[in-house]
């Protein structure tokens, strides 16, 4: 019951008006599911509370050399969209039947189009946005083209063509819709705010152009989108800081953007440097951010305090959080998801999800 109450609280707190299907009755029946991918061609659905893989689906017609990159799930938890096939195809896999219900080829004769991790489905599930880097394959040479955001109608089925192509900044590692569909965020050298219909830039949150006295340029990789639980994009970063005496130190911190409120917050951790790979914000205790890599950390992003850190069993890339804010799911790299308590950072369980590794595939949470 606590789980459901917390979920409701979260939903209300977020002002998630657009999530119309989330009536209290519907919520009462909903559970948390983790959706991720594993080598060579699997989409895996895990019942988080039961610690159980409930479905493993095979992505059809794919090259098996690469792992899935970006993965996003419609908010109703019905379809997962995955970047696969040497990152040249996006497919929608029905999470009940395993059927491929959507497929868009990013490449076409003479053009090689690749996507990475920047992919998101609109809050109503009707549109899919994919950041594409195209290259013209000419005789004896390549010609790099400007990247774009391909926007698809998710009901277009197999052989989908973009509804529209929006101009997009290079080096976009994350795409994220605001819950009210008014903004499409493209995380590049800055967090660029676009009109999801026209692609017109309607705002920007400085990142590389972020200036603070004594601080250098921040650096982040940010290839693990896991903003769906708190509706807050968050990424760990490193930054050099030179104090008044000229002493330089490298600090790690968390930079985040509330996707509902369009508001940025950040803080650097005090004390010994931690090496995080990805971050998630607790949807219930929103001051708490967790980072994962070889260590799991719990940080207060309002105060910059590193509350706790523990060694993980091995390297992990991603971390996600339950709707009630009580459990963390640490995944990526190999074939397991480790479960930790958000209060104590004590390990509670391990879920073996597949034979193949997850590598860098996104690990998302949905409620069904």
């Amino acid at each position: 019951m606590n789980n459901n109450k917390a979920t409701l609280r979260t939903a209300l707190a977020l002002g998630a008006v657009s999530l119309g299907m989330m009536s209290q009755l519907a919520l009462a029946a909903k559970k948390d599911y983790l959706v991720t991918a594993a080598r060579p061609d699997k989409v895996v659905v895990v019942d988080a509370a039961e610690r159980k893989v409930v479905n493993t689906f095979t992505i059809p017609n794919t090259a098996k050399g690469n792992s899935v990159a970006g993965l996003t799930v419609s908010r109703d938890g019905k379809v997962a969209y995955v970047v696969h096939n040497r990152w040249e195809t996006v497919s929608g896999i029905d999470l009940d039947t395993g059927k491929e219900v959507f497929r868009a080829e990013l490449s076409s004769p003479g053009i090689r189009g690749k996507a990475h991790f920047a992919i998101d489905v609109s809050p109503d599930g009707k549109e899919l946005a994919v950041h594409v880097s195209p290259t013209k394959l000419k005789l004896g040479e390549y010609e790099v083209q400007d990247p774009y955001i391909a926007v698809y109608d998710t009901s277009a089925g197999i052989g989908a063509e973009p509804l529209r192509k929006l101009p997009a900044p290079r080096r976009t590692t994350t795409l994220a819709y605001s819950p009210d569909y008014k903004r499409l965020y493209a995380y590049s050298w800055d967090m660029v705010v676009l009109d999801p219909q026209t692609g017109k830039q309607i705002g920007v949150h400085p990142w590389r152009s972020w200036k603070r006295e004594g601080y250098g340029e921040p650096d982040t990789l940010s290839v693990s989108p896991q903003f769906e639980q708190a509706n807050e994009f968050a990424t760990p970063y490193f930054i050099d800081y030179t104090d008044k005496n000229g002493k330089k130190v490298t600090k790690a911190g968390v930079w985040s953007l509330d996707l509902a409120k369009d508001k940025v917050r950040f803080s650097e951790f005090e004390g010994e440097l931690v090496m995080p790979f990805s971050t998630v914000i607790n949807p219930v205790r929103r001051n708490e951010a967790y980072t994962a890599y070889t260590q799991l950390t719990k940080n207060d992003i309002d105060t910059g305090k590193l509350i706790k850190r523990v060694d993980l069993d091995h390297t992990f890339y991603t971390v996600n959080v339950s709707s009630d804010g009580k459990e963390l799911y640490v995944g990526g790299t190999i074939n397991e998801i480790a479960v930790y308590d958000t209060e104590t950072l004590e390990k509670k369980d391990t879920i073996i999800i597949s034979e193949g590794d997850q590598v860098l595939s996104s690990m998302r949470m949905v409620q069904r």
């Binding site: 290259t135 004896g140 040479e141 010609e143 790099v144 290079r170 290839v223």
Partner: protein, 536 residues
């Protein structure tokens, strides 16, 4: 009709060739006519003729390894079908007609020789920041292209590896704008296609490597060696080579194999040397009088040695090549061996060093008993036999002031354990120095004495390494200074189940007649190198 010789030493499978260095360029079917026919039939399909020649192909020049990497990529990524003989024919023809002059490849020969122990000093910081955060700087410096072709290379990079702008080393800048804008202009100035050196080299009269050679060299861990080589021509720049190597430590090796001379000076041979398969990457001097470079064990490039050879035989000029040992302590008497070719006449070991007697005299080798005067001044003496002189002959010293551990940059790689990659060891050596006239260590006037035997020990480099017990897991250091890294793969005994990579500290202690001198240096033990092209 030498095409069958390809089967003598088979070329590596293609996919491995992408990843593993040193393709033995030994198939022999390379006549100019056959090469041009191949270029027209296999390459021109995509590389259409332009007013500058074949698109792309006539806009760049490369080393033999550089051309082979390109051709292999065409085979693997673009489906070009070539037999081993055809591949060899094209590499030879392209390296001969679109190669680098000796002075153009001189600055980065360490890459061709696969000696990865030095830290590069980039000529241009912008080029280094654009290219050398992933590649060696020298990989760029070993190519010549037009500005347009350098720009096309940038397009290729982003088209082939779109994450280039996302990954560390790329994302701190507007990578694409810089790399496709300013960088090709800079590269054209530094490494443009057209050069006086290459035009002259094309006019240079080719010389044969065939004949008798007198050989000296140094193999880290085993020490100095000397020997003989016989090279015979098989026509069309193909050769056979036989070697005998005698090491100062008493070991002896024979070697035999085949070679190709590319671009008129790039000697590439594959030989069986003792139990090892060895690659030779040498340079034939423009006058054909010296052959020098490095050899290494195929697949384990850290094991190898420097090599220098001069013409031998009655007509060859007298040459003094090496003095062993390379140092003598003031106030002591020791035997000194001199190696060379056609040596005759009086032996002089320089001021303060007296030749007490000639123990053994031959035209290729002389052994003398030498006494260094007690008060003689520190310094390197020129050594003479008759008219032949070796400027850096014999170093005289009063006191061993300090030692330095070689190689400069020590990096081993875990391997083996059933995996595809072998362990890559590091052979350490301790080099003795005297402070020189200013009495201070680490200054330009320091006197390099030579290699001193040492006692070797291993420790954790820092507190974190100690916490992870790197010294226990990452490998072992033998008495002879050879570090053998640990097994590849995750190690369940280690924290995080991590592999056996680690940060270590190597210490050498030299005992010079009761005077002990110590030095330490970091040793990084890292993971396998999965992508290891001929030029890194």
């Amino acid at each position: 009709m030498r095409a069958h010789s390809a089967s003598v030493i088979p070329l590596r499978p293609l996919l491995l060739s992408m990843a593993i260095s040193a393709v033995p360029f030994l198939a022999q079917a390379d006549t100019k006519g056959a090469a041009e026919a191949l270029l027209n039939s296999k390459c021109q399909t995509c590389h259409l003729p332009t007013d500058k020649g074949l698109n792309r192909i006539d806009e760049s020049r490369r080393t033999p390894e550089g051309w082979d990497m390109t051709i292999v990529r065409m085979m693997v990524s673009h489906g070009v079908e070539l037999t081993p003989e055809e591949r060899q024919t094209l590499v030879k023809y392209l390296a001969d007609t679109r190669g680098l002059a000796p002075e153009e490849s001189a600055a980065h020969r360490y890459l061709l020789e696969r000696d990865f122990t030095l830290i590069e000093q980039p000529k241009d910081q912008l080029v280094a920041d654009t290219c050398a955060r992933c590649h060696s700087y020298g990989r760029t410096g070993l190519q010549r292209r037009t500005e347009e072709d350098w720009r096309k290379l940038v397009h290729y990079h982003v088209g082939q590896y779109p994450v280039i702008e996302i990954q560390q080393g790329g994302r701190d800048r507007d990578w694409w704008e810089i790399a496709s804008g300013e960088v090709p202009k800079r590269l054209d100035k530094l490494y443009g296609l057209d050069s006086e050196a290459w035009r002259k080299w094309l006019q240079h009269e080719s010389v044969s490597a065939a004949g008798q050679w007198r050989v000296v060299g140094h193999r880290p861990g085993w020490g100095a060696y000397e020997g003989q080589a016989t090279i015979s021509s098989n026509g069309d720049d193909h050769y056979s080579i036989k070697l005998t190597l005698n090491y100062a430590n008493g070991k002896q090796e024979t070697a035999e194999g085949k070679a190709v001379l590319y671009t008129g000076y790039e000697w590439r041979a594959t030989v069986k040397q003792g139990d090892m398969n060895v690659r030779q990457v040498f340079t034939l001097s423009p006058d054909g009088q010296t052959l020098s470079g490095r050899w290494y064990q195929a697949g384990i490039d850290a094991i190898g040695g420097r090599f220098e050879a001069v013409r031998d035989g009655k007509e060859a000029p007298a040459r003094l090549l090496a003095v062993e040992p390379s140092y003598i302590k003031a106030g002591t008497t020791q035997q000194v061996t001199l190696y060379g070719s056609n040596l005759s006449g009086d032996v002089s070991l320089g001021e303060g060093v007296e030749v007490l007697k000639v123990v053994e005299r031959g035209t290729g080798k002389l052994v003398v008993e030498a006494r260094a005067a007690a008060g003689a001044k520190d310094g390197v003496r020129a050594v003479k036999v008759g008219d032949s002189q070796l400027d850096k002959g014999l170093a005289l010293y009063q006191k061993l002031d300090y030692i330095s551990i070689e190689p400069d940059q020590a990096m081993a790689r875990i391997g083996g354990n059933g995996g595809a990659m072998p362990k890559i060891p590091v052979q350490f050596e301790s080099v003795g120095y005297a402070n020189g006239p200013d009495g201070k260590p680490g200054t330009a006037d320091d006197i390099r004495l030579g290699y001193f035997p040492a006692k070797w020990t291993l420790d954790n480099l820092n507190a974190y390494a100690a916490q992870l017990k790197d010294a226990e897991y990452s490998g072992r250091l033998q008495e002879d200074g050879l570090f053998i890294p640990g097994d590849a793969g995750p190690n369940p005994k280690r924290k995080f189940g991590t592999n056996n990579a680690g940060e270590l500290k190597v210490t050498a202690v030299v005992d010079d007649a009761g005077h002990k001198v110590e030095a330490s240096k970091p040793l990084v033990v890292t993971v396998q190198r999965w992508n290891d092209p001929s030029i890194r």
